[in-house]
Symmetry: C2
């Protein structure tokens, strides 16, 4: 009975549409101001302020004041994982009509999931890494192989083992593709490196990203990733 009240308290915090929209916006991994979040949620700043206070009190958000702005971000990767797991269950919920917008299509194509890559791009990258024997992906976990350790380190990803004995790559269930992609420390470092190399860049102000021409070449050369290839069509004949 006590467990349930914790559960309810946390879930109801996320369960309000306005707050959920703010959290979804923060899934991009960036810090946003109160007003930006108000716009994202479609409410007035004073309403947003109340919501943000509650989210912060509930340890879902961290705030850092900078001048007259207050920047809000998700409190931890664990919060991001929680939101992602909610999404994963939510998408197979009531099969109500899903009005696909251009914005949603862009998100499904390539986006960030807090700190790593997701969408069709994220899944394709995971597949390419697995195909080259750099990582192993299973239903319940993932690991970096010896060859992968070497290749990723050479690529510029910091492979320093954390507290864990082994380099694992946490799989993250993609809600649009319904398939695993690379999350965890490795996924985050991989995404950071791709941004740093200019291989990918943010498209618009949300979570959507775009692969640059340099990225297409680089991803192909380095990981054998054919982007934006949709090989099924060409190879079917």
């Amino acid at each position: 009975m006590l467990e349930g009240s914790y559960l309810a308290q946390m879930a109801s915090l996320v369960g309000d549409p306005s707050r959920a929209n703010m959290l979804a916006a923060l899934m991009a991994g960036q810090a946003l101001t109160a007003t930006e979040l108000a716009i994202a949620a479609g409410i007035t700043p004073q309403t947003a302020s109340g919501h943000l206070a509650r989210l912060t009190d509930g340890k879902l958000l961290k705030v850092v004041a900078q001048g007259r702005h207050r920047y809000h971000r998700l409190a931890s990767a664990e919060v991001a994982r929680m939101l992602e797991s909610l999404m994963a269950v939510a998408v197979e919920g009531p099969k109500r009509h899903r009005p696909r917008s251009a914005r949603d299509d862009a998100l499904a194509e390539a986006r960030t999931c807090y700190d790593h890559l997701a969408g069709r791009l994220g899944v394709a990258l995971a597949d390419a890494l697995a195909a080259r024997g750099l990582i192993l992906l299973g239903d319940e976990g993932g690991a970096v192989t010896a060859a992968g350790q070497q290749a990723l380190a050479a690529f510029g990803v910091d492979m320093a083992p954390g507290h864990g004995r082994q380099a694992f790559c946490r799989p993250c269930l993609d809600w649009s593709e319904r398939r695993w992609h690379v999350g965890g420390r490795i996924g985050a470092a991989l995404a950071r490196r791709c941004f740093a190399l200019g291989w990918i860049e943010r498209a618009g102000d949300g979570r959507a990203v775009r692969v640059t021409p340099a990225g297409e070449a680089g991803l192909g050369r380095t990981f054998g990733l054919d982007w934006p290839g949709r090989p099924a069509l060409a190879e079917a004949g």
Copy 2:
């Protein structure tokens, strides 16, 4: 904006205290009737009925009618994972007073987490397996070693690899211990086998479990697990 509405819809489903209590009760992994769930949530059957209909519609629950009873259970392991991730974030939320009841203590000691073992017992078992080199546990994942494959198979756990190439053991963040324990297919099979051997049994009608004398001996012999040992006290001098 659309993502947020999915999130909100799913979270608000969990966010009601009565529904959350039912879901918490179902985290035991057993199927319960509507009336049992009503009692667990402290509401009348007719109110529970409405809630259960909504949870089922939202694909959180599966129902199977048997005579004049209707048995409800969590729809999937994914739902259980979602609830567990909510709990993991919830416990470090607002540090409000936590009235520890005997019931809660029993849960923290040893309980099931949908289909595997959690609590102090679950963590201790994971530690014992890791200490013997049967599994590897990291911050972001876990794997069964070659020795572990053999030992677990000998113990009677079905180690047939599923779709994945490798035997992973999904780690599950324990909300009472704040440490990893063994979940996933391996964790579930391990728990099933322990129940079958009579090493553990359900204590009461909830999620709490108890280690039998046979279990204490067996767990010690097989996995080197000293239960209910609290070694820090004896070995400190």
